[in-house]
């Protein structure tokens, strides 16, 4: 019973060290634990896959730096898929950090020979959250008169024929909070009927599922795990896939902590009861 007492009073810093090792070791020496592509990720992959070369897809990068490790790999994987299919991609952001994440992806694509203004454009940031999304839906150029490089948005070749949100073949939204799927569904999907697919931070997964099940979203990705699945679906494993072993080991460590914590708690409780 003394052991249970000690177990229950374990210094939290020891738990941090165990967790850090559990996560770090598989990153240094990958174990190749298997995981399958979920039907949800397949749906997202299918939504991008069925677009034709030259179709224009919107990527609204609305995640913060804090949640980026969970969502950015999703956006990267989907953008790579879009480039592989020769789609045209328009980036927008309704949170300030989104602009830089869009720029990062664009710079990487430019290195492969794709052309800014023809294959993709970053229209930058628009303030106003839901109001801005609503304005964007009605007229793209009202909240985004210029792109991040100072060009008049309307003059860029990629923007030819684009006027409202209805002109996109697919809208994809990546979010860690507000604005997120709810705002896009309210202001764009319901009005313009453009297919909307979302990638969200893991925490938002359960609450966003309701929109997917009701058909308001055509596809949904949730967290790093979904990004890894998407990379596997594309047959192009990347950083998210490499992180899956670490994530699995981290979960095992946490489950063990919860189980041992409960054993210690109930053990101590029954000991006190006997007294």
């Amino acid at each position: 019973m003394d052991f249970l007492m000690k177990l229950g009073n374990t210094d939290r810093r020891i738990l941090y060290i165990i967790l850090a090792l559990a996560v770090l070791m598989p990153l240094i020496s990958p174990m190749g634990l298997p995981f399958r592509v979920s039907p949800w990720t397949e749906k997202f992959y299918g939504a991008v896959e069925k677009l034709q070369a030259g179709d224009i897809m919107l990527m609204s990068i609305d995640y913060s730096i804090g949640g980026a490790p969970d969502v950015h790999p999703q956006a990267e994987a989907i953008f790579k898929h879009a480039m592989r299919k020769n789609l045209k991609v328009v980036f927008v952001a309704f949170v300030t950090e989104g602009v830089e994440f869009g720029n990062q992806m664009i710079i990487a694509a430019e290195a492969t020979g794709k052309k800014y203004g023809q294959d993709f454009v970053n229209l930058g940031f628009a303030p106003g959250v839901e109001v801005a999304i609503s304005a964007f839906g009605q007229d793209i150029y009202k909240p985004f008169p210029k792109d991040v490089r100072g060009n008049v948005a309307q003059d860029l070749p990629i923007m030819k024929g684009l006027k409202t949100a209805a002109d996109f073949k697919l809208i994809t939204e990546y979010a860690t909070g507000i604005p997120g799927p709810a705002e896009w569904i309210r202001q764009v999907q319901t009005r313009y009927k453009t297919p909307l697919a979302c990638g969200v931070v893991t925490m938002m997964g359960p609450q966003t599922e309701a929109y997917y099940q009701s058909g308001q979203l055509v596809a949904l990705l949730s967290g790093l795990r979904s990004a890894a699945e998407y990379e596997v679906a594309m047959k192009a494993p990347g950083s998210a896939t490499a992180a899956m072993d670490a994530q699995s080991m981290g979960h095992i460590a946490l489950v063990l902590f919860v189980v041992l914590g409960n054993i210690a708690y109930f053990g101590e409780k029954s000991k006190k009861g006997r007294r």
């Binding site: 990153l27 300030t96 309210r186 979960h251």
Partner: protein, 199 residues
């Protein structure tokens, strides 16, 4: 090991944040303030650019006088700092609240009608039955204005378990998200800073 100054700054910032895991300390607090300051500065630059592109340039270069409305409303916000005139700042706030409320009206359709429609499904699969029973019992848990007979009590108890399972799923997702953050930092530290993990 990286020779990039930016990578070193990011690595030092990351390690400073990790020091909190040992205990609260001055290094952690210093870098926390630094982070808040940088984030605020970054945000102000983008907001300034947006105001210039969306309102100021159309007003001054194209003569779009309508832009005076948001500019004046925005400036009125600052009356909050002027003693005796702070009440004027309520006008733009009232405008914003009105606008927000109007835009949110769409939620009646998207979050209410469509979600109810989504539960009007045939009882022909386990998934559908779980959705219907889960929704009805969870709502029953919050139904306080009816006599608590055995049927309502039973449904309410089931609803409580449904809610607990939902919270459990949210907690699990939360944990998963936090582990992702840790992985990302480790990937940065040991891939971009110290070359221990192969790219």
């Amino acid at each position: 090991m990286s020779t990039d100054l930016g990578v070193w700054v990011a690595a030092i910032c990351t390690l400073a944040m990790f020091t909190f895991l040992y205990k609260d300390n001055t290094v952690f607090r210093t870098f926390q303030h630094l982070y808040v300051g940088v984030a605020a500065g970054y945000g102000i630059v983008f907001q300034y650019k947006s105001i210039k592109n969306i309102a100021w340039d159309p007003l001054t270069k194209k003569g779009d006088m309508l832009m005076l409305v948001p500019i004046i409303l925005g400036l009125l916000m600052f009356t909050r700092f002027i003693k005796g005139y702070s009440w004027i700042s309520r006008w733009p706030i009232a405008f914003l609240i009105g606008l927000g409320a109007a835009l949110s009206m769409k939620a009646i359709e998207t979050d209410f009608v469509r979600q109810i429609q989504a539960t009007l499904i045939p009882w022909n699969s386990i998934d559908n039955i779980v959705i219907i029973v889960g929704t009805v019992t969870a709502l029953t848990y919050f139904y306080f204005t009816v006599k608590q007979n055995s049927l309502v009590k039973g449904a309410s108890t089931v609803g409580r378990y449904v809610l607990m399972m939902t919270f459990g799923a949210s907690f699990g997702n939360g944990v998963m998200g936090r582990i992702s953050l840790l992985i990302s930092r480790f990937q940065f530290l040991f891939t971009d800073w110290i070359y221990i993990i192969k790219k």
